[in-house]
Structure formats: structure tokens, C-alpha cells
Amino acid sequence: MDQPKNKRYGMVIDLDKCTGCGACMVACMAENNIPFRDDDTDKLLSVSWMHVYRLSNGKPFPHAEECFLPRPCQHCEGEHGHSPCVSVCPATATDYDMHTGIVSQIYTRCFGCRYCMAACPYHVRQFNWWDPVWPEGMERALNPDVSVRMRGVVEKCSFCYSRYQTALNRAYLEGRRELSEEEYQTACTQACPAGAIVFGDLNNPAHRVHQIVKPDLAHGGRPRNPKVFRLLERLGTHPKVYYLTRRDWVRRAGDNEIQKT
């Protein structure tokens, strides 16, 4: 068999290392041509593929603790690629790629019904409420590998799919069909100054994500590492973004498990 095995690209974020600095957000904005507006303080109206949440342990001073939780698209696998958002899109503008496990979004096909936003429990999908406008000259910094989105469509993190394509093209030119771990990395992973983000193929035991998470691929990729958890595990969305922490309260704040399975 010459056909390469399917990939399951995923990410594990070490919440004990993440400092909440926002470098991942900015690197993502720069890589993916995310627009900005005069007032972006209302995060529910603002487009940012990566958002850093601030979690609190809810205890009073001086026992208060905080943790930062970066949230890219979770690239849910659901059952056999039946991710919450992909199945609901009426215009086939989003797709679960069985070869990579990446949930894509076709901006030119989306007509802005926002059903996928209602379907996503992670608020990953965001709507272009406004026309994207760059101040004169700043559009020069736009990345030609990623198309600029128009007003009225939904967008979200693509695990920097353009980087995957670029890496794959380069590999093909060199006569290879497989990418090495470091050849394809997302912008946030690469930028993270704390080294808190690890990205790779969950199907590949040689990759660090696999080694950290130890995914139970028969059960939707449930982590076998007890320090690793996923957001809303019990919904059965089977996200491919995992979180690593030693702190119990962080795990509890990140996932509402009434009964542990």
C-alpha cells in the first residue's frame, strides 16, 4: 500500500505552562488575515480564531487562582466525522476531512445562516458582522496563502490548513508523500513563547501529541493520560484539542463531568 495512512491532526495545550500572553492569538491573526476594528472589546462581536479564556477557581482572596485556556477550533470528530457543525451546514460550506481530521470552512460558499455557530458548544465559529477593513497600507501585510473573508460569512480556525498545503507541496516536490512532525505546525504552536502548545498527528505514535495524550482511538480519542482532558468530553464531540494540567480545579473548570466515565 502506497497510499499514506489517514492523519488525525490534533493539539495538546499545557495549561500549566500557558501564561495567557496572547502570542498565539496575534500569530494566528497575522497568519490568517484576521481583520480588526476600532472597537474590538466585545469579544462576542470580534473575530479571533484563537481565544484565551481566563478560568478562575472561584475561591476568595488570597486563595484565588487563575488559569488561561487558549481555545482554537476543537476540530471535533464526533462519531465518524459527524462533528456538531459539519452535519448542520445546509450548503456544504464546511467539511470534515477524513484524511487529516481537519474541519474546514469554505468562505465563498457560506451564505451566513449561522446554524453552525448555534451548533458549536465552544463558540469557535464566528461571524463577520462587518466588512473587513484594513487601514491604508496595512493590507500589504496580508498573507496571500489565506483568503480574506467577506462580510456575512462564518469563519473559524483551520489548524492553519494553508501551512499544511504548503508543507505538502514542498514534500511532493522533494518526492515525499509523508510530512515529518515539524514540517507542519500551526502558527500558534510555532509562536507560543512558553512552548505550551504541541501539535501533530494523533494517529502517529512517534508524534509528541500522541505520546502526551495516549489517545484511545477506539473511543473517539479519549485521553488515556489522566492529566489530559478535553472540553465537554461527555457531549461526545470528540475534540482533537486536548488540555494538560496537574491542577484538579482547572480540569473541573474545563469539563463538567458529573459522573466520571
Partner: protein, 732 residues
């Protein structure tokens, strides 16, 4: 033809049916949808060949290596260099947003001259000619010392060119932008006799004690410090943060001890007290490599630093202090650091000394995992310039900021004292001021007074890429290129424990009619002629740089940085060749007293403590991506949100999100409240970096500036030691 109803209906229905059956509606529908996919006002970035250029980031003193992605001649992204010793591929949010500074439409496009309060564009020739004329006039009047120059740093060829210019012109008033390094460098000089910057070998530490340092908020080179703190966790080391609010650093530390603000020095002495009393100091190191321990004992073993007294002052428990001291002393590689927040304020010298003494007691000075004196680079060896009589006389006059004077013998630069000096006398002591870094009109405390002082200067020249607050107040703005458009040598990286030289290189051709600061200096010297022209034999800054770096140029150009891998800490250079806890110069500093927050506690019941955020810049303009990434807990619409404890809010009868007026003895600001359990009751936490008067529409006019509310606090060495101010909140 008569049109009756029947034929009319037939025409309408037939026409409609005919059109519907033709391809026209389908074609139109399709065209319209294609049009929505390519709206002409939505930009389409042109494709092209992608190349990468290695350079160095200068947006903060961190000195990270960057990899700039270009598509044809456009810069599209800045990433961290994975082979760079400082950041190893990581990059901070500001560094990642650097492209937006390059392409900012709010950059200064050509030299500007203020005429009747408004800027008019002038040519470079005219601007340089007119400024040179003023310089010549002042020099001929015999007052060359009335020229001063505020620079970002005192390292590298640009800084040396400025310093050389001032020297040959006849002014001692070269001023570096203040930072926590000021106090650290002085502490190293006093105790170790070394003229060096403080490096911190954070990657090998096993117990990191931070006295208010925002290690994860911009202190040092962020990616280096971040990675080290992460590695500390992997090694199961310990990380304790002493800070009055639950900053991002405190949130990541293993232990957050919310001490009263301003008592960090007290706590350091308290720890020294316990260590000395219980004999926990690292005996071999203290016995063989230090001297003057008696002086420290005399000072630290006073009742004022006994655990109970320290607990009283710091708001911590006595047993916590004792436990902390024991654990710190017992750790394999303990290290204490200080320099509040991002380290942009020097802080008191005694406080830094206390922390340094603490390190010396546990043997963490000039060793692996400790504070390391990194020698200042010595590659700039130019022939001594020839000076005329005016210059020699001018150089004899005391510095305008008082640094090095009898009163402030230890300080080298005291920018914080400049406003005070400017306000003295009939005529201001500075007649011509150049500012090529630091944006003092925004970043110095007590902004109103600073602005008043600076407004007395007859000629203020700003050399900035942006129309920042200082540039806006200047008489001339000479636009400098951004770090992506020029050559620059960057010696050292803040807090990095090894000698390093990085190279900034032009990634794109200068976009606008800018001129590097070094070239402005050379042009001015050429215009002034005489000894000045003779002192600058280079035709441009770039040529000067190549010649200066000589043999180092090629490897630097090729690799982007030169790291001295073989570097080992140097021996102490004090008279005793040991680390000195006490000596003649230290003696006057022995009595440590914390600096109280200015203001009457009776009128101002609360205390305002400013804090730094990596998503906001201090002096530079914050680029739009960072403003976008700013938390809504800091900025909401156009209002800054200040942190207060819910109990404090209840006492004031104010709710979360409420509008309030924050009043200090220096000014008042409109704020919104953010209630959090992560701050000591009685404090008001306020982010630095907002309330910008100038800059782009994404930043300007948002929030309020903490510096406007703060007062300057001078410690006995002259350093800016302020950490907060008394304040009160009133319902708006």
C-alpha cells in the same frame, strides 16, 4: 396599435415566462453570487515568491531572533527564530504584531516642523540644516551643555554615535531610558565591582523567588523567561510570586503571596534576617567568596526585620516568612529576582541590593542558576575624538539630571529627574533636547508635570517612526525607520545570562522618507563642521557599523547573532576580590526604609498600583492586533477597567462594571470597575499603556494612562522608586 387588457396581460406573462426560461436570470444570479465572493472592497493579497529574512526584534530589550516572512517585497509575518538562543522559536505577542508597526498609516512620512502649533512637512535638508543652525548658535553662545539627548539604550553603535556627538559638541547629557537594569547594574557595581548588566540563569534555577517581577508580563526577554518558568515546572522546581495582585505571573507561580505593595525590600531583608539568624546561608560561598557580612548582619538583624515585624509590614504571616526563608535557603539553586512588572521602572536601589544580598547569601551570584554579571560589550573601539575648548569646558559641567553628582554619585542616567531639573530656574537647563527613544512624555510618571517641564524646552526634536506623545509635542519630528527597515547592532538581551550580539537588518527597503538615528547624528556633525565633522569619518551609519564590527561583521551578517558560548562568569573586581556585603560606597545605603505611596491616606483611602500587560506596550504604540487581543477585563469600549476586590467595592457601594472616577493627588481618570478576588483589598490595579494621546484610531483615546495619575518618587540614589500612589474611587 391599440393595447387592450388581453394583449397587455399576454405581453407581461409571456415576457416573464420567456425571461424565466432564458439563461438570463440564472446567469445573473450566478454573477451576483460570484460578485459577493469577490467584493471589490475586500482586498486580495497578491501572490508571489516567499522568502525569509533573519533579523533581531528591538521592540523591547529582549533581543529575540526573528524570522521575517516576505512575499515579494511585502512583509507578511514575523515569527521567532527557532535557532536563536534567547527565544528558540517563540515570540511574544508584540513581536508577532510588529508588521503592523511597519505598515501603520500613522507613521511619520517625512520630516515635520511645527509652525504655529501645526506640523508642516519639510525636507530632510531643511530640517537638519535648521537644527544644526540652532546647535551652532547654542555652541557659539558657549552653552553646549544645554543640549541633551534621550536614547532608548546606551549600547550599540547608534548610542555610541550619539554619545560621541554630545561629547565632541560639549554636552555630558546623554540620557538612557530608565529600567530595572539601572538599579541592578548599580547593585552589581557596588557589590562586585563589575560594570556589567545583570543576567539571570533562569534555565537552571530550582527555586525562583520573584519579588514583584512580572516574569510572565514582559520582564526580561519574554520567550526566554517563559520557557525557563515552564522548564522549572517540568523539573518540579518551585516558583513563588510576591505581588499584591494575582497577575499572570502570580497565576502561574506555585505559590502566590499577596504582600502589601512596596514592601518587597522589607520582605527581602526579613528573609535575610531569618537566614542569618538560623545560620542557613550557604557557608562555603559566604565564607570564601564574600566580605563584609558583618555590615549586612548589623542591618538585617534589626528588630524591624524580625519575622513578626516583617509580617506586620508585608501583610503576610510570620510563619510564611520563616518557611519561605528556610525553603529558599535549602533549595539546590535558589534565585531571587526583582524589578516590578515588566521592569520598566528602576525601583529603589536598596530594594534591589536587598534582593542581591539574598542571592549572595545562598551563593547564587556568578554561578550556574544565579545572577550573572554579563560584561558590557567592547567591540566599539573608535579613536578618541579631538575636542575643542568649548567641548572640554562643556563636558566639565555637571549633568542636567544630576547623575554622577555628589548627591547622586551612583547613578549614571536619571531621566526621571529631568522634569524637575527643567522646571528649575528662569531659563530651562536644556535648550535643545533630542529624543530617540522612550517616549518620555507618555512613560514618565506625573505626565502633566512632565509635559509642563518639557514645554519649557525651546527646541525639542523627536526621532521616532510614529507620531507618539513626545513627537506630538516636539518642534521637529525626524522620522526614523522601523526595525524592519534599517541596520542596527543589538548587544545583549535583557536578563539573558550570556554575552550576545544580535543584528537588525533591513527586511524591506525603507517605505517612507525616514533616516536612521545614526545617520541623523552623522549629518548633524557634518553640518556643524570642525571637530564634530572630524569625529565622524563615516559616510553613513551602515558604513560605521561594518567598520566597527570589523571581523564580527561577516559572521553576524551570516548568522544574525553572535553568542559567546564559552562565556564563564568573571571573578569579582572589588578591592577584596570578593562579593562585598559592605564597603564604603554601600555604607550610606545601609539603612533601608520602604518608600510609602505618596498622598494623604486620610483623604485617599485606597492605593493605586499600576501593572504591566504583555498585550500593551509602555512607550511604543500598541499595534492593532494587540489592542484587539486585549482582555475585556482591561478595556471595555473606550473605558479602562481597574481591578478592585469585591469587599472594597462593597465598601464603596460600587458594582462590577460600574463607572467611577479614580482620583489621586496627581490627577483623575474615568474608569470602569472590574471586581476580582485576585487583588488585595484596598488596592486599585490599573494597567499601564492606555490613555494614549497620539497614535492610531485603534489605540488613541482609549482608557486612561496610569502615568498621569502617578507621582515621581525618588530614592536616595536618585532612581525612580515609585510603585503606586494613594487614591480614591468615586461613583461617576
Amino acid at each position: 396599435m391599440k393595447i387592450d387588457r388581453r394583449s397587455f396581460l399576454a405581453f407581461v406573462f409571456g415576457g416573464a415566462a420567456g425571461t424565466a426560461l432564458s439563461p438570463l436570470p440564472w446567469k445573473l444570479t450566478d454573477d451576483i453570487s460570484i460578485w459577493t465572493q469577490n467584493w471589490p472592497w475586500t482586498p486580495v493579497p497578491p501572490k508571489g515568491e516567499t522568502t525569509y529574512v533573519a533579523s533581531t526584534c528591538t521592540l523591547c530589550p529582549g533581543g529575540c531572533g526573528i524570522r521575517v516572512r516576505r512575499v515579494e517585497d511585502r512583509v507578511v509575518k514575523i515569527e521567532g527564530r527557532s535557532d536563536h538562543p534567547v527565544n528558540r522559536g517563540g515570540i511574544c505577542p508584540l513581536g508577532a504584531a510588529g508588521v503592523q508597526l511597519l505598515y501603520s498609516p500613522w507613521r511619520v512620512r517625512q520630516p515635520l516642523k511645527k509652525v504655529d502649533g501645526r506640523f508642516v512637512p519639510v525636507s530632510w535638508d531643511q530640517a537638519i540644516g535648521e537644527i544644526a543652525g540652532e546647535l551652532r548658535e547654542l555652541r557659539e553662545a558657549g552653552a553646549p551643555e544645554a543640549v541633551a539627548w534621550i536614547a532608548e539604550t546606551d549600547r550599540g553603535t547608534t548610542a555610541e554615535l550619539i554619545r560621541r556627538f554630545l561629547t565632541v559638541y560639549g554636552s555630558p547629557n546623554f540620557i538612557r531610558t530608565p529600567s530595572a537594569q539601572d538599579a541592578w547594574e548599580t547593585a552589581l557595581y557596588l557589590t562586585q565591582g563589575q560594570r556589567a548588566t545583570a543576567g539571570f540563569d533562569l534555565e537552571r534555577v530550582s527555586f525562583l523567588l520573584s519579588l514583584g517581577s512580572g516574569l510572565l508580563e514582559g520582564w526580561g526577554a519574554p520567550p526566554f523567561v517563559f520557557r525557563a518558568c515552564g522548564a522549572l515546572q517540568d523539573r518540579n522546581g518551585r516558583f513563588v510570586q510576591l505581588e499584591p495582585r494575582l497577575s499572570k505571573t502570580a497565576a502561574k507561580a506555585h505559590q502566590w503571596l499577596p504582600l502589601q505593595p512596596g514592601t518587597e525590600g522589607t520582605l527581602a531583608f526579613g528573609l535575610i534576617h531569618v537566614i542569618l539568624k538560623e545560620g542557613l546561608e550557604r557557608k562555603p560561598f559566604v565564607a570564601t567568596r564574600t566580605a563584609g557580612l558583618e555590615d549586612l548582619k548589623r542591618n538585617a538583624l534589626r528588630e524591624a526585620f524580625a519575622p513578626e515585624a516583617v509580617a506586620q509590614a508585608t501583610g503576610l504571616e510570620a510563619k510564611t516568612v520563616v518557611e519561605l526563608a528556610r525553603a529558599f535557603a535549602a533549595a539546590e539553586r535558589p534565585l531571587a529576582v526583582c524589578g516590578r512588572g515588566a521592569g520598566r521602572v528602576p525601583g529603589g536601589l536598596q530594594e534591589t541590593l536587598a534582593v542581591h544580598f539574598l542571592n549572595a547569601l545562598v551563593g547564587s551570584v556568578n554561578v550556574e542558576g544565579g545572577v550573572i554579571a554579563v560584561p558590557e560589550p567592547e567591540y566599539i573601539r573608535w579613536p578618541e575624538p579631538e575636542m575643542d575648548a568649548v567641548a572640554s569646558q562643556g563636558m566639565q559641567t555637571p549633568r542636567v539630571d544630576g547623575a554622577g553628582s555628589e548627591r547622586y554619585p551612583l547613578a549614571r542616567y536619571l531621566l526621571n529627574r529631568l522634569p524637575e531639573a527643567l522646571l528649575q530656574g528662569e531659563k530651562p537647563a536644556v535648550r535643545i533636547l533630542f529624543v530617540s527613544g522612550g517616549n518620555p512624555l507618555y512613560s514618565l510618571p506625573d505626565s502633566e508635570r512632565t509635559a509642563k517641564a518639557f514645554s519649557r524646552i525651546p527646541l525639542l526634536v523627536s526621532l521616532s517612526p510614529f507620531l507618539d506623545e513626545t513627537a506630538a509635542a516636539a518642534h521637529y519630528v525626524l522620522p526614523a525607520p522601523t526595525y524592519l527597515e534599517r541596520w542596527e547592532d543589538v548587544p545583549g538581551a535583557a536578563g539573558f545570562p550570556k554575552p550576545l550580539i544580535g543584528l537588525v537588518r533591513p527586511v524591506v527597503a525603507p517605505r517612507l522618507a525616514t533616516m536612521p538615528t545614526g545617520d541623523v547624528v552623522i549629518r548633524l556633525a557634518q553640518r556643524l563642521g570642525g571637530t564634530l565633522r572630524a569625529a565622524f569619518p563615516w559616510e553613513s551609519h551602515e558604513v560605521c557599523l561594518r567598520q566597527t564590527l570589523a571581523a564580527a561583521w561577516e559572521p553576524l551578517r551570516k548568522n544574525g547573532f553572535v553568542l559567546d558560548e564559552s562565556f564563564r562568569p568573571q571573578p569579582f573586581e572589588t578591592a577584596s576580590r570578593k562579593f562585598e556585603f559592605g564597603n564604603a560606597e554601600l555604607k550610606p545605603l545601609a539603612e533601608f526604609r520602604p518608600h510609602p505611596a505618596p498622598g494623604d491616606p486620610g483623604v485617599f483611602k485606597l492605593t493605586l498600583v499600576p501593572y504591566d500587560s504583555l498585550r500593551l506596550t509602555a512607550a511604543l504604540g500598541t499595534p492593532p492586533f494587540l489592542v484587539k487581543a486585549l482582555e475585556s477585563e482591561i478595556l471595555w469600549k473606550n473605558d479602562i477597567r481597574v481591578e478592585i476586590h469585591p469587599q472594597t467595592a462593597r465598601d464603596l457601594g460600587l458594582a462590577d462594571g460600574a463607572d467611577a472616577r479614580l482620583i489621586t493627588p496627581r490627577g483623575e481618570a474615568r474608569v470602569k470597575l472590574y471586581l476580582t478576588e485576585g487583588i488585595r483589598p484596598g488596592l486599585v490595579g490599573m494597567a499601564r499603556g492606555l490613555g494614549r494621546g497620539a497614535h492610531d484610531r485603534y489605540l488613541a483615546g482609549k482608557g486612561a494612562s496610569a502615568n498621569r495619575l502617578l507621582a515621581a518618587v525618588e530614592d536616595s540614589s536618585g532612581f525612580e522608586a515609585g510603585w503606586g500612589i494613594r487614591a480614591r474611587l468615586e461613583r461617576a
